[in-house]
């Protein structure tokens, strides 16, 4: 019964401090490991999660992340929704440009995180907040080949 509940549904973690960022990294790593992610895949996803959680904290004024295990046939995935109710991103194209920063960082947070996952989506409304959703799969499914 305890085992069944482990993968049963999404888990929400608060993002409000440095310590929360560390906790998010640990929980994402654990979830990815349980779903069969390899070491490099785990490292990429945890790094992306760290960048995005820091954005939620620094730019969004805090929020939460929802961690959702996914099943697609024989492979497993993990979806992460980073949600804040901050000021929103005014210029998304600019925010996704390498080297652009509004917060004194290196400007690699969003653009870098995007490269580390398979699916990446940003929903930002000025004055209402930002949700960044990323998905990574334990096994990358190759595009189906057309057999002549």
């Amino acid at each position: 019964m305890m085992q069944a509940s482990r993968h049963a549904g999404p888990a929400d973690l608060p993002i409000g401090s440095d310590a929360d960022l560390a906790w998010v990294r640990q929980q994402v790593r654990q979830a990815a490991a349980e779903l069969g992610f390899g070491l490099v895949q785990q490292t990429k996803l945890v790094t992306a999660a760290s960048e995005l959680a820091r954005n939620t904290l620094v730019h969004g004024g805090g929020g939460h992340v929802r961690i959702t295990p996914l099943d697609a046939g024989s492979t497993h995935g993990l979806r992460l929704d980073f949600v804040d109710t901050g000021p929103g991103i005014r210029d998304l194209d600019q925010a996704l440009t390498d080297g652009y920063t509004s917060g004194g960082g290196l400007g690699l947070g969003l653009s870098g995180a995007k490269r580390l996952v398979q699916e990446f989506e940003v929903d930002s409304r000025p004055g209402e907040g930002t949700t960044v959703t990323v998905t990574a799969w334990a096994t990358v499914v190759p595009p189906s080949r057309t057999v002549p």
Binding site: R25, V40, T43, V46, T47, S50, L106, L108, G112, R115
Partner: protein, 137 residues
């Protein structure tokens, strides 16, 4: 020489980062989860130690670090840049292969940072021999 005058290890959230002085080199060992505030504290701590102890080299061992994101990467680069201004060379030692792959994809290749596969090689780069015997010339 009193050495560490007034500067203990960086402390934060119940963790400490060991900073050892080995002759002319500071050996900093990072392990596990490093909180952002703790990384910044470490930067101040190392920079003060370089000034106080007048070491000529810093080795940062990250073999126990599972991820390096852009924040920690920036702190490491800034530690090295600060050390350089204080006439000390910095070598980053023991990066895990998965971390290296991830950093490249992230776009953070830390061009100004000298690296070594492990602490021993880092010490050699700084001109310190850690292994004795074996018929050294």
């Amino acid at each position: 020489m009193t050495g560490f005058a007034g500067h203990g290890p960086a402390v934060g959230h119940g963790f400490t980062v060991p900073v050892l002085q080995l002759g002319d080199v500071l050996l900093v060992t990072l392990q596990g989860e490093l909180h952002d505030g703790m990384a910044e504290q470490l930067q101040e701590d190392i920079t003060a130690r370089i000034s106080n102890t007048r070491v000529s080299g810093v080795v940062i061992d990250i073999s126990g670090v599972e991820i390096v994101d852009s924040f920690l990467g920036r702190v490491l680069a800034e530690i090295a840049a600060g050390a350089k201004l204080l006439a000390a060379r910095t070598v980053l030692a023991g990066m895990r292969p998965a971390v290296a792959i991830t950093l490249v994809e992230l776009g953070l290749t830390l061009p100004g940072l000298r690296t070594a596969l492990d602490v021993e090689r880092a010490m050699e780069l700084l001109g310190v021999t850690t292994r004795r015997g074996e018929g050294s010339p």
